[in-house]
Amino acid sequence: MKGFLLSVLVVLPVLLLTGCEQFLLSADPEDSPESNFEFLWQELNNKYAYFDHKNIDWHEVYQRYRTKIHSEMDEKALFEVLSQMLNELRDGHVNLISSFDQSRNWSWCLDYPANFDEMLVYTSYLGEDYDITGALHNQVIDSVLYVYYSSFASDITQAHLDELLEKLEGLKGLIIDVRNNGGGSGANAALLAAVLTEKAYIYGHSRVKIGPDPTDFSAWKNLTIRPADGKRFAGNVVLLCNRRSYSASNTFALMLKSRPNVCLMGDNTGGGGGIPAYGELPNGWKYRFSASQTIDLNGRQTEDGIVVDIPVALSSGDQAKGIDTIIEAALEYLKNNN
């Protein structure tokens, strides 16, 4: 037998995807005002989740905006028209992002009272000696643990939560303040919700847009919270919200809405029930849009926000006296429901 073994070892910086390697790949799509408009409209037609719910006739929008697109327009004029078209969706999760501007729609919060004064929270409630446990700023107030979570984009860990739960021992309850929390990672919301339940529960349903018809969706998928493996808290909880509690904060409010030991207080959340997905236009601009719908256990779209159990408004009179009406109401609630 004339057999032999060979081995080869090569470590080299080499070229990938250059030169003649492109010949089997088609050229980039045409970059013109018309092609960018068509691409954006089509992508949203296939993937945007709320045409039906918001009663938006996207084909009528096409007719209206297509006439504003012409080949001679410069990129800023194109950006303006595309931004106006996206604003028809009335969605805080919809943006057009270029190197010179980012379109956005903030109607979900700007038309409503603020119901939050961060300085007031720090000066009158957190004080100078509050604890910073990861992203969770917290203080014990009248035997209640007050936790201010300003952004779900700031990650929390089980160790942070274990620390908070240790502080909660012997206290009357927990206030979680997500007012002005514009969202971030839903995983952080799920982590926090998981320490507030003793057993798994379904808190809503979600589905993804999968086709060009406004009613083309995947099947509804249950959204579930499973209890954390470590420490958990089964006492009373008040969640403070306002219209600027958006996206992941909206989801967090949904997670807690059905819990018997949780009361939502303040103002309804701002919405943002769809998962934002991203894409890129032929001219390199990025866009963001809601790709899914989420409903609560009663079938209500969370895009419209989560309705609080006890509406409380921040009184300007209280504010002038250094009092946060909503925190005071939460403290009173926990005192009376202990």
Partner: protein, 219 residues
């Protein structure tokens, strides 16, 4: 590379590649195994970037024919491609996997030039059957948003599909030229061209050409 679940634009750049190969040549059959990994920061014509990494394990089993210069047989290709688009807030990490089988052949020509022993080889393969796992534009991270306390593996497995002609393509061509040393070892220069295309759920197409210079050592 172009992944239409991310962008209609072509992303390209130079990459850092590592190859490790093993070949066993018997009287009737030769086996060839190759591990290859590539790493790059790809960018499109507007400068938007994508972090790219792949791991590929390929093997050929080739049989000698009546024609001594031609060997034929079958091949198996296993591909793991990881992309990350840093500027996308969600669904920015995308993992694709392909396992496929198909015919392969290798043409070998040995000759002498100025008294030196040289060998030219042209292996090629065409993958025709297998399976792939591809994320759709919303089936990868952040799975936690869709299913808190769930894991990404469930989303990953939900994206499996059959690798069949017309739905997916993978072909490779690796022409090489060896200078045989007196010890039996060889210095090899080789060009590795590969094309991969998966049409579903949204088209991924990838074309790569890699030049390598290496040492072939007898064990």
């Amino acid at each position: 590379m172009r992944d239409k679940s991310v962008s209609p634009l072509l992303y390209q750049n130079a990459a850092l590649s590592v190859f490790l190969s093993y070949e066993h040549e018997g009287p009737k059959k030769s086996d060839f195994f190759q591990f290859n990994t590539n790493r790059a920061v790809l960018s499109n014509q507007y400068g938007n970037t994508m972090l790219y990494r792949d791991f590929c394990f390929k093997n050929y089993s080739l049989y000698k024919t009546g024609q001594a210069r031609l060997k034929w047989g079958w091949s198996n290709n296993n591909y793991l491609i990881f992309c990350e688009i840093p500027s996308y807030g969600n669904f920015n990490k995308r993992l694709s996997y392909v396992t496929s089988f198909g015919p392969a052949l290798c043409y070998v020509e040995c000759f002498n030039l100025f008294g030196k022993q040289l060998k030219a080889e042209l292996p090629l393969d065409l993958q025709v059957l297998g399976f792939y796992i591809r994320p759709s534009y919303v089936s990868d991270s952040p799975e936690a948003y869709l299913a808190p306390n769930g894991n990404r593996i469930s989303a990953f497995l939900a994206s499996a599909g059959a690798f069949l002609p017309n739905q997916a393509w993978n072909a490779a061509l690796n022409p090489g030229f060896s200078y045989i040393l007196s010890s039996g070892n060889a210095v090899v220069i080789q060009y590795h061209y590969e094309y991969l295309c998966i049409n579903r759920p949204e088209k991924l197409s990838k074309s790569s050409g890699i030049w390598t210079i290496g040492i072939k050592a007898m064990l």
